[in-house]
């Protein structure tokens, strides 16, 4: 029994990372391909994956750099596009309280849309976890991202044209699965539809990926109001 309990108490980060790996492979590959086709070397393409590690930001960086945009514009655009990580980091901070602080500067680098979404779902249902869980989840995902962008870049420099692997739907499917795991009660259903529609609307008026962070902030704020409002009924 004790052995059983010990085994069960550590959630397996590698296993949790598998859907992310499936989702990262085609996107990382596509990124690598686009990067090389835009005139960057394989090592430049991979360098962005290694040091920036943010899919949409990397695609934007490639297009801005090849268009000759200034460093200030480029860097501030990337900053805005990735501001949503601030939100993820704030949210995760509540679950990293008993993890040794020396790991935080390393672990926080690996927070992405996908690793955050998977981690927060695991953490909410499982209160027993260690830094090992985070390392497993984060490093597996990171490796898949870097490796697939390398493969894409190599393929792009070897063969011409683009390749469609039909795994395009892996990430949207994962968002759907994670969303349903998060939803409990009509308030969350309401906030989901509200934030989603708001995100679409804002997409037409805001630049880059800012619609995601603005819609998420307003959506979550709406949730707080909803909580207050329902309690006062």
């Amino acid at each position: 029994m004790i052995v059983d309990g010990d085994v069960r108490k550590s959630i397996n980060g590698v296993k949790s990372a598998l859907p992310i790996v499936l989702g990262y492979l085609p996107i990382g590959f596509a990124y690598g391909l686009v990067g090389v086709k835009s005139g960057f070397t394989i090592s430049q393409v991979v360098a962005l994956s290694l040091f920036v590690y943010a899919g949409s930001a990397q695609f934007i960086a490639i297009s801005l750099l090849s268009a000759g945009t200034s460093i200030v514009t480029l860097v501030s655009t990337i900053f805005i596009v990735n501001l949503r990580h601030f939100l993820y980091s704030t949210s995760l901070s509540q679950y990293m309280k008993h993890i040794s602080r020396k790991h935080i500067p390393i672990l926080s680098f690996f927070i992405t849309d996908e690793t955050y979404a998977v981690a927060i779902t695991d953490l909410q249902t499982n209160s027993e976890y260690t830094e090992g869980y985070f390392y497993q989840l984060f490093l597996t995902s990171y490796t898949a991202w870097v490796f697939s962008s390398f493969l894409g870049a190599v393929s792009g420099s070897l063969i011409g044209g683009s390749i469609n692997i039909g795994l395009d739907f892996a990430l949207p499917a994962m968002y759907i699965a994670l969303l349903l795991m998060q939803i409990s009660g009509y308030k969350k259903v309401f906030i989901s539809v509200f934030s989603g529609l708001l995100s679409i609307t804002l997409m037409f008026v805001l630049p880059g990926n800012t619609n995601v962070i603005v819609a998420a902030l307003i959506g979550a704020g709406m949730g707080v109001l909803l909580d207050k409002w329902v309690r006062n009924l």
Partner: protein, 107 residues
């Protein structure tokens, strides 16, 4: 391209790392007020919806509500699988398979 690229990468590293690092490092010692906790509880739902809706409803910068929208159609079986399993892997596989089949039928 050499120097400009290296400076750009350093700049991008800093602006992507700082928002990831600061909150998780600064807030782990602090007990947050109830309203903030309530806010954070809604963040995952709000973020996931904000990411998902544009992917399945928008194509080339336009609202795409048609039977030829493969993303939207594939979302239906994925949603059903997710509703019944409440797990990650099965809906992802259902989604990919639906997407591949639908791509063949519609294209």
């Amino acid at each position: 391209m050499g120097t400009k690229f290296i400076i750009s990468v350093i700049g991008m590293f800093l602006v992507t790392y700082i928002p990831r690092f600061m909150p998780v490092y600064g807030l782990t010692k602090i007990e947050l007020p109830q309203a903030v906790k309530s806010f954070l509880e809604y963040v995952p739902v709000a973020v996931l919806s904000a990411l998902l809706f544009p992917v399945i409803f928008i194509k080339d910068g336009r609202l795409f509500l048609a039977l030829s929208n493969i993303y939207l159609l594939s979302a239906i079986p994925t949603f059903i699988a997710a509703y019944f399993t409440r797990k990650l892997f099965t809906p992802v596989v259902v989604g990919i398979v639906s997407y591949v089949i639908l791509s063949f039928i519609i294209k």
